[in-house]
Symmetry: C2
Subunit: 415 residues, 2 copies
């Protein structure tokens, strides 16, 4: 059993990093090249691409990859197809298009002028923003969805091509050491002797119900014969909408609860996932799972609507669907139906945990004694933190709670 | 060579017809079942499904098939995936949903009350109209696109499940004998000794430029070693928008030009394709090609934007894209990129033919002497027919032209 599992880990999807072999030479070359300035979102995608999270993609999508992604949520990989659930494209303006016309190579720069990467043999194609937004998100394009608004504000063209990234993308925000690359994660899991790596993708604080689920998952994996299941706690690190909890606050909360042992004897690796958040529902759930394969994931935990949000018009075109943009279970369903992921990644059921007033602990919900349970929603949690109300004992590690309380009361959060 | 090609024809995709094995017994059973009334579009899809044009689909999509279609343009087929580019779903109302709740079988009836088919083990799921429209068409859902308007006017639920169709769908409009099933078409091509079947999907009158292309295609196939290439002239027979030329007029025109020999010595099989038109661009181009595999197609002719229309808002969200809903070449591109079709169907280039004023014939456009050519657009053609202006000699078979002229001048068309 163990030998087989180690083989499975060793055989994880090939990951290709896209860093320059000779960064000094590439930077010297870049000085002479026409440049395009990328925004923060563009830089986050450069980060994602450079470390191989989207392998086999070797740069921003060209038109054929863009079309395959929009239509099939896959791109060609040799003779076959491989998942590519969300478009990774670099929009440019008409002026940029004119400037790079006919160039063999261009350089991407940050807003402060720092050169970041070279695109070789760039090709330019129509961004087709309405088509991108509607096919990707399944809603109207002229809507107040925060990522769609970014798409619609982007250029009318897109530039694709292989990229060569000068050096590792860093943010100098005190969190770079938690931004492990897929290859570093693979090495770490191997060094730990992990024979199962189960991923928890998150962009919220962790309460004791989550911790219970993680411990329970490790227990069940051991029952299945795994000797060393490791939890990869993988907070999303890129752009999020304004009302999400910022990354630094979440990381402080995660550090506090790990230090205080809420995961028991389950070994945990904390590694930030550098992608921006899209709020693209089922498509994004597949992106979150697929990209983690690069880091060595073998198992994936998925719950209800993990990449959703309220519908911008509260489903005005079909109010019977309720307020949510996506169907609660379509994310999980698409992971089960994905022709590649269903073979490469084992899905783990998400047991719903709630506050058990009899034991004063988070516990798996038991419908037979449902009156013993008290639900503490995200909205309720935020309200309590803002008002300085302490949540019931056993809901969240107290030090972790303090981090949230400070944030919601407007105190500057220190790392 | 010949042996190989015959093998290729014989190995066409398995086609399963969905007719009742015992229609009398099924009709007797149906009398006792709860019924749902379907509209003309629903009946056209029953027609499509019953004859196996959408094999391996065995009925209206269930939720998993609907989701796979929306996301991947494929559905599961055994261990693999097979193209299913457009949703084939049966929308129902809240009242219908309540009526069929818990039933093991339901009957579908035409508006006049005639029972048509049984759905066994029906399952009901959310229609999610905005999501369907945006993912399928790549534009906003609250737009004046004629097929999207039908979707948005449809029920909030959909019912899926295997269907058992009582008998062949007929329309008693004098054209039923041209509605050959895929299995009948396969037999006919085999009886003719065809070693290549090249399909021309159309929903417009055929002018001599088209005929030239067909003859040229047959010639090139012979050059490639095929002994008996057969043209399958395959007009779309289902619902079309109001300003398209109606099927009966088109069929009269097609009969006239075939009788008058405009295809020369190229053998032609005329067979109506029963699907409604979606105006869904690249997705629909893939549907048109995939469904013809069932009838024995080996080669497919595809030109510019064959399933497009003007953008309902003329691309108000990105006016630089022009007036058309879809990119001119994306339909053809998606056929080339489709992981299944690129292996199963040989695409044939569409050479553009125009009116050559020097020879008074339709000829392949030659940019070296572009001033010799005169373009006769569809709009111009319709205007001439309406006003009784005879087009230049050699543009279209005169008897075929008379059919159009009669129609556009409001004369009743006789079959």
């Amino acid at each position: 059993m163990l030998a087989l599992i180690l083989f499975a880990l060793a055989a994880s999807r090939p990951v290709t990093e896209l860093f320059s072999k000779n960064a000094a030479a590439a930077k010297a070359e870049a000085v002479k090249l026409t440049s395009i300035t990328i925004n923060n979102e563009g830089l986050e995608w450069v980060h994602v691409l450079s470390e191989g999270w989207a392998s086999p993609l070797e740069g921003f999508m060209n038109e054929e990859q863009y079309l395959m992604c929009l239509h099939y949520q896959q791109i060609a990989d040799g003779d076959g197809m491989i998942p590519m659930p969300v478009p990774i494209v670099l929009p440019i303006s008409e002026e940029d298009k004119a400037a790079i016309d006919g160039k063999d190579a261009i350089v991407l720069k940050k807003a402060d002028g720092t050169p970041v990467a070279i695109i070789r043999n760039p090709t330019v194609f129509e961004h087709r923003r309405e088509e991108r937004a509607t096919r990707t998100f399944g809603i109207n394009a002229d809507t107040k969805h925060p990522y769609i608004e970014m798409i619609m504000a982007g250029g009318e063209w897109a530039v694709g091509g292989k990229i060569e990234v000068f050096e590792r993308v860093v943010y100098n925000d005190g969190m770079d050491q938690w931004r492990l690359t897929p290859l570093e994660l693979q090495k770490q899991f191997k060094d730990m002797g992990a024979d199962a790596v189960f991923v928890f993708q998150l962009r919220n604080p962790v309460h004791n119900g989550h911790a219970l689920l993680m411990q329970d998952t490790a227990r069940r994996l051991k029952e299945q014969g795994f000797k060393k299941p490791v939890l990869w706690l993988s907070p999303l690190g890129g752009w999020t909408k304004d009302d999400d909890v910022p990354l630094d606050v979440r990381m402080n909360q995660h550090h506090a609860i790990i230090k205080n042992g809420v995961f028991g004897d389950t070994e945990v690796v904390l590694g930030i996932f550098p992608s921006p958040m899209l709020y693209a529902g089922p498509r994004e759930v597949q992106w979150h799972a697929f990209s983690r394969l690069a880091g060595g994931a073998t198992h994936y935990i998925v719950g209800r609507d993990p990449a959703g949000m309220k519908h911008p018009t509260l489903n005005a075109l079909q109010p019977s669907l309720g307020d949510d943009l996506y169907h609660m279970w379509h994310g999980q369903t698409m992971l089960k139906l994905n022709p590649y992921l269903k073979k490469e990644l084992t899905l783990l059921p998400f047991h719903f945990a709630s506050y058990d007033t009899t034991t004063k602990k988070m516990a798996f919900f038991d419908p037979a004694r449902k009156d013993d349970f008290k639900s503490i929603s995200g909205t309720k949690m935020r309200k309590m933190a803002r008002e300085g109300t302490t949540p019931p004992e056993g809901f969240m590690d107290p030090e972790g709670w303090q981090v949230l309380e400070k944030f919601y009361q407007g105190a500057k959060v220190e790392l």
